[in-house]
């Protein structure tokens, strides 16, 4: 029996898909979301068991290739992960495929883009300005904070005034110690806005400090859209179909999207018709699907008359800086959420680079993780001295990452691999990416200043990694927005220039990357696009 046509078809149930589904649900159209992954169970997350560290590194690895290699029936999400040809990039893309998407495994660090992030061409003469600004998105940032449940402290001078709905998470000994270091140097710092609830909120219980947020929150205190947006979206009538992997977007004779072909949970190819198609598949999955949807009319891929689908891929190159302290630091607590600093966020050309980076303070890792981390850096030997070295480091190490602003470069791409496919035989993405000289200079600066602030905080020993390999969390720019169809893929409200009923709402549409985590901005954009569709419903396809 053929599937009933729907009004709005969303592809992907992650950060943006969940937010969009909830917001569009009252537009008077039927809404269906197809998600290739399953619903996750909190009782399956690693922190329910003693072997949480090994499970987090294998079956719950954020790297889909690692999950697929680890599966033997055990990889979280099963075959929902698709392989990525990642040999051509020093930063390996990471993501998760399930209801909730990568918010299942994220650290829930929740900074917004700053107002200046939207106008880097005007302010700094690089890249391009966005066709929208912070003020346009501000109501959606605020709405999203309410829906996700964000903890933080109002008044950060790095941002326009905003009031997180929940008080900040405790800084812990780690955050207190590092904050004193920043204070000593007179550098900016502030408690992070975190999508982790510090108090009971909307039926969810406050954080109890499980530690590793990045393998799924067994307590449900960390926001992921499967427990924030999706329950209310479904109550509003949105249908969510899991285990459904879209093969291609189909067109009618008029060149409008008329639905998709997808493999259902049993591997049967299905057709689903829709009036509006919305891509929410992340900065790699979205260009992959557009390129896989090439047809006679669009031989270079759907919505690709600009030639920019899959180009301008941006990550955030991360530097890691760690310090060893004499005093114990309670490294537990939300893994990625403590304090941040925008001291070096804005352009100062005397530093030798344009744009800048933020710092985020991280907490400790588990006993096995610390042993392996120490071994990989020659700090914890095997054999004689092993226990002594481990004791000096474990719970005595505080770290931070420098998140540098990547600038768009058309040479950094997502293309289709000619051989590699997913479990349904759909061509897999291939990543080609180089870290720019500007980013390398930022990374070096972040390392040097990071050592300085850790020493100021009391670290007796510091060390750093110039570039973290397994940190391609933030996937941006591969279907950029803009007002000129020749230089962008979608317009200022996410509608394809070429296919008037095709929308994109994930990180693909970012024009620039900022120097902070993008999820807050991705979700604000998704809510904004949903409202734009509702507002323009009368002449949506003109």
């Amino acid at each position: 029996m053929p599937n009933e046509p729907v009004g709005v078809l969303i592809i992907g149930a992650g950060a943006s898909g969940g937010a969009f589904a909830w917001r569009i649900a009252d537009a008077g159209m039927s809404v269906l979301c197809l998600e290739q992954g399953p619903w996750m169970k909190q009782s399956d997350y690693p922190t329910n068991n003693l072997d949480w560290e090994s499970r987090a590194a294998t079956e719950f690895s954020p790297n889909p290739n690692t999950r697929l290699a680890a599966r033997d029936g055990k990889g979280a999400g099963g075959d929902a992960a698709y392989p990525i040809h990642n040999e051509g990039t020093p930063i390996k893309p990471v993501m998760f495929n399930a209801v909730g998407g990568s918010t299942i495994l994220w650290a829930a660090h929740f900074p917004r883009f700053t107002p200046r992030d939207f106008r880097v061409r005007s302010d700094d003469g690089v890249a391009d300005d966005w066709p929208i600004d912070y003020e346009t998105l501000e109501p959606f940032f605020a709405l999203n904070d309410q829906m996700m449940g964000v903890s933080g402290l109002a008044g950060d001078p790095a941002y326009p005034k905003h009031e997180p709905p929940l008080p900040p998470l405790p800084l812990g000994a780690t955050g207190n110690t590092l904050a004193r270091g920043f204070e000593k140097l007179g550098w900016h710092w502030w408690p992070s806005d975190s999508a982790v609830i510090s108090q009971d909120y909307n039926g969810r219980e406050a954080c109890i400090n499980l530690g590793p947020c990045t393998s799924g929150c067994a307590h449900g205190a960390k926001a992921s859209t499967d427990i924030t947006y999706w329950p209310v979206a479904e109550r509003k009538g949105v249908e969510l179909r899991t285990g459904c992997r879209v093969k291609e977007i189909t067109l009618n004779d008029a060149g409008m999207a008329d639905g998709v072909l997808y493999y259902d949970e049993g591997g049967t190819l299905q057709e689903q018709k829709a009036e509006i198609v919305v891509l929410a598949s992340n900065g790699i999955g979205t260009p992959r699907l557009l390129l896989n949807s090439a047809n006679e009319r669009y031989p270079d891929g759907l919505a690709n008359s600009s030639g920019l689908v899959g180009k301008n891929l941006m990550f955030h190159p991360y530097a890691l800086i760690r310090g060893v302290f004499d005093e114990p630091l309670d490294g537990k607590g939300p893994r990625g959420c403590s304090i941040w600093s925008h001291e070096f966020y804005e352009t100062d050309r005397s530093r030798g680079f344009v744009r800048g980076y933020s710092y985020e303070m991280t907490r400790g890792v588990g006993p096995a993780g610390e042993a392996l981390f120490g071994a990989s850096r020659g700090r914890i030997p095997w054999g004689p001295g092993h226990h002594e070295a481990w004791s000096e480091i474990y719970d005595h190490t505080a770290g931070m990452v420098g998140i540098t602003e990547d600038l768009p470069d058309e040479a950094n791409t997502v293309t289709l691999d000619p051989e590699l496919t997913d479990s349904d035989g759909i061509p897999a993405p291939k990543i080609t990416y180089e870290v720019s000289e500007n980013s390398h200079r930022q990374l070096t600066h972040a390392e040097e200043r990071g050592h300085e602030v850790l020493r100021a905080a009391g670290a007796t020993d510091t060390y750093s990694d110039h570039l973290i390999e397994q940190a391609g969390w933030h996937l941006m720019g591969t279907a950029r927005m803009g007002s000129d169809p020749n230089t962008s893929v979608v317009n200022e409200w996410g509608r394809s220039h070429d296919v008037k009923n095709l929308f994109i709402i994930d990180g693909s549409i970012f024009v620039t990357a900022g120097g902070v985590n993008p999820t807050s901005t991705i979700q604000a954009l998704a809510l904004y696009v949903a409202d734009s569709i509702k507002r323009n419903i009368g002449n949506l396809f003109d």
Binding site: Y45, T47, N48, N49, L50, D51, W52, E53, S54, A57, D72, L153, A154, G155, D156, P157, P168, P170, L171, G172, A173, G175, N176, A179, R180, E183, W190, P191, I208, N209, L210, G211, P212, A218, H219, D330, K332, G333, G366, P367, A368, A371, L372, A375, S376, W382, G383, P384, H386, H387, Y394
Partner: protein, 148 residues
């Protein structure tokens, strides 16, 4: 154990190797990794990964060959076992990295070890952990900055 047995299946030998990589602590609170009985778990984890297994087989085989055919490695004192392993690392540089990932996970997730380290021998959930509150002086400082 005869030398034609795969070194990962040579339990006495692998146990001695693991006890060398993670020896017992001097204060007696922490057992050696081999004495803890991790040989089977670690061996199985290595064998599940074909590439890792090949590297470890070659490296451990070289150690066993170099120390004698009748299982002499097991009878060596600790410094001699360390020296025997080190002697093979130039020819087998991936041996240690290939072993320690499964070994460290197995060791540091074992309840006996966690107790010896003074850590709770339980998973993080549902108990969670205590975290030091934000320093009130820092909080006051921030509030005064926000007010300005």
């Amino acid at each position: 154990m005869a030398q034609n047995v795969n070194p990962l299946a040579d339990t006495p030998f692998l146990t001695a190797v693991l006890d060398t990589l993670i020896p017992p602590s001097e204060d007696g609170k922490l057992p050696g990794a081999g004495s803890l009985g991790l040989a089977s778990e670690v061996g199985s984890a290595i064998e599940r990964d074909e590439d890792r297994s090949a590297l470890v087989d070659a490296g451990l085989g070289a150690i066993r060959d170099a120390t004698g055919s009748a299982g002499e490695f097991v009878t060596l004192d600790f410094p001699s076992r360390v020296a025997a392993i080190e002697a093979q690392l130039e020819a087998h540089p991936q041996l240690i990295p290939s072993i320690i990932t499964p070994l460290y996970f197995a060791y540091y997730q074992d309840p006996t070890v966690l107790v010896g380290l003074g850590l709770p021998a339980r998973p993080p959930f549902p108990g969670g952990y205590e975290v030091t509150p934000t320093d009130p002086d820092l909080l006051e400082l921030l509030r005064s900055k926000a007010a300005n």
